[in-house]
């Protein structure tokens, strides 16, 4: 059981790091957003793994909340990106720089 938990957690940590690196290195707003979703799902995996090990349902309850929150975030996030694209015709975050100081 202990070994199994570590495998899950390692995978989750790798996914989380890939997500963080994606946010930091990619410049396309949609790809950044995708990487953020990867971070959330890495956390979900860790929660489910812990929940299974402890035999406690709370972790899995939180996972359901995270999935619904992520869906709401997609709706809002894509709407914001589309509104921006209509005005600027770009989703490259390096070109989105009206504010200074």
């Amino acid at each position: 059981m202990e070994l199994a938990l570590n495998w899950y957690l390692s995978l989750s940590a790798v996914l989380f790091v890939i997500g963080v690196l994606g946010v930091l290195l990619r410049r396309n707003a949609i790809v950044i957003f995708l990487s953020i979703e990867l971070m959330l799902n890495a956390a979900n995996l860790a929660l489910v793994a812990f929940s299974q090990t402890f035999g406690d349902v709370n972790g899995q309850v939180l996972v359901f909340f995270v999935m619904s929150v992520a869906a709401a975030e997609v709706a809002v996030g894509l709407a914001i990106i589309i509104a921006l694209f209509r005005n600027k015709e770009t989703v490259n975050v390096n070109e989105i720089n009206l504010f200074r100081g």
Binding site: F33, M39, A46, F50, N58, E73, I96
Partner: protein, 493 residues
């Protein structure tokens, strides 16, 4: 069969009421688009919720098997959040009508965000903490990008959204690790679980990631980069809402979490040092960068970063500083709602004030004395001038830091607030010492009047700041009681 739910719903009535009316407003709005009754309804429900919470400050309770707190500390924080929301709603009606964006859904989003903030501030478990934080954040992303056809508003919304979601990722991973370290989601069970398991790597990592999420939400340095861009591009009254109510909620939740983690000696020491260092950097960077700003909304954003640093100073002091931090949050909410309220009246560039410099406000004091006097009170309060509430807020958090042996931190705080007087008073120089003729020609001819609703809120804020300054003991005794009574030790062991 579900009888046990009724008392729980009674205990969380203000949250449920605000959320319910928020949903009702969406329905009302879809049948009668942008109906004039919507702001009245949202104001009424906020007043009702404040009344209920005020009646319950004396009793501490919890609901839904401990997942949500109610009464006592929770009620106090809810009152502050609801006051911030009420002030923003009243100021938003004339402001958004003038800019042509007084949509019904704005008020629905404000109410749902407020409900999320209350859930966050009353969280009894990591689950409610997350759900409250996200309910609040997602509504705020939409409110930031309200002016859809403006590039700056789009940019603000995108930056807020991407960085906010990024920090949510850290926050959630922190929750997962804390859950793994303690085996429980309930905040109240954590101390016992920690005594059993000791301090593991999971626990340290979880606390660190959770703190990153919180630092982002309260815009502490080095997680502050989004704040100026977001406040500058967002509609002014809604920027006021974000800078006060959401910050209050995040700080209250931080107190709830720290209250359980810090008392364990070996754990507390490190976390407390991290808080103290972040507080020091936040105060210095916020105040120094504010000096260089020419746009008032941007300056207010950096000032709100600096104020987050002062409040963190109180939290770094541990249990001694919590009551001071609560008083500070109340005072800060009143003065910042007021300052953003004044700016919402003085906006005529058609870009949510994103391009207005301080010079464009030359001579406003003699043209509109009410605005001049009100802004004077808010600026003196923000810089911490003695008879006003801002001074006592700073005094309480710095005194707590000295008592906790963090004299160096209090010293940095005092020096930083001396620096802050420069940029706050510069606004007053523009308001009163410069002549209207000094301003740009387009500004001199700009016609504007002060709507009645804005006047009411501004006068109320001025009165509250003076009253809180003259009798601060009334609030601090109420706030201090949460952290010494037996019920409170049950709440915050």
């Amino acid at each position: 069969m579900y009888d046990f739910l009724l008392p729980d719903m009674g205990a969380t009535a203000p949250i449920l009421l605000v959320a319910l009316i928020g949903v009702v407003l969406v329905v009302v709005d879809s049948f009668s688009n942008d109906s004039a009754s919507i702001p009245w309804l949202s104001g009424a429900v906020l007043v009702a919720a404040i009344t209920i919470e005020l009646a319950r400050v004396g009793v501490t309770d919890s609901a839904f098997m401990g997942h949500v707190m109610s009464g006592g500390f929770a009620s106090f924080v809810n009152v502050v959040i609801l006051l911030g929301a009420l002030g923003s709603v009243i100021l938003s009606v004339p402001y958004l009508s003038r800019t042509g964006h007084n949509f019904g859904e704005v008020h629905a989003l404000i109410l749902i965000a407020t409900a999320g903030m209350m859930v966050l501030a009353n969280a009894g478990s990591l689950i409610t903490l997350f759900v409250g934080l996200e309910t609040m954040s997602i509504c705020l992303y939409v409110l930031t990008g309200l002016v859809r056809d403006n590039e700056r508003a789009n940019e603000s919304a995108l930056k807020y959204f991407l960085l906010g979601a990024f920090s949510t990722g850290f926050f959630l991973y922190g929750i997962a690790l804390l859950y793994g370290a303690t085996g429980t989601m309930m905040l109240s069970d954590m101390p016992a679980a920690l005594v059993e398991t000791g301090r593991t790597g999971f626990f340290a990592g979880g606390v660190a990631l959770l703190l990153i999420g919180f630092f982002f939400k309260v815009s502490a340095v080095p997680f502050h980069m989004w704040t100026p861009d977001v406040y500058q591009g967002a509609p002014t009254t809604l920027a006021g809402f974000m800078s006060t109510a959401s910050k209050t909620a995040a700080f209250a939740a931080l107190i709830l979490v720290l209250g359980r983690i810090l008392p364990l000696d070996d754990v507390g020491l490190d976390t407390r040092h991290v808080l103290a260092i972040v507080a020091a950097i936040t105060m210095v960077v916020g105040n120094v960068l504010a000096l260089a700003q020419r746009n008032i909304k941007r300056m207010l954003a950096y000032s709100s970063i600096a104020h987050a640093g002062y409040i963190l100073t109180g939290l770094a002091a541990g249990a001694l500083g919590y009551a001071g931090a609560l008083y500070y949050l109340l005072a800060y909410t009143v003065m910042n709602i007021g300052a953003f309220g004044v700016m919402s009246v003085l906006e005529w560039d058609g870009k949510q004030g994103a391009e207005q410099t301080i010079d464009s406000l030359a001579g406003i004091g003699s043209r509109k004395p009410l605005l001049g006097v009100a802004m004077g009170v808010f600026m003196f309060a923000l810089s911490g001038f003695p008879p006003l509430a801002g001074f006592f807020g700073k005094y309480f958090v710095f005194a707590a830091a000295v008592d906790a042996g963090l004299t160096w931190l209090a010293l940095i705080g005092v020096l930083a607030s001396v620096v802050s007087a420069y940029y706050y008073l510069r606004v007053l120089v523009a308001f009163w010492m410069k002549k209207p003729e000094d301003a740009h020609v387009s500004v001199q001819s700009a016609a504007f009047d002060v709507p009645l609703f804005s006047k009411v809120v501004l006068v109320a804020c001025v009165a509250a700041l003076i009253a809180l300054g003259i009798v601060p003991g009334f609030i601090t005794e109420a706030a201090g009681a949460f952290f010494v009574t037996p019920e409170a030790t049950a709440l915050l062991p």
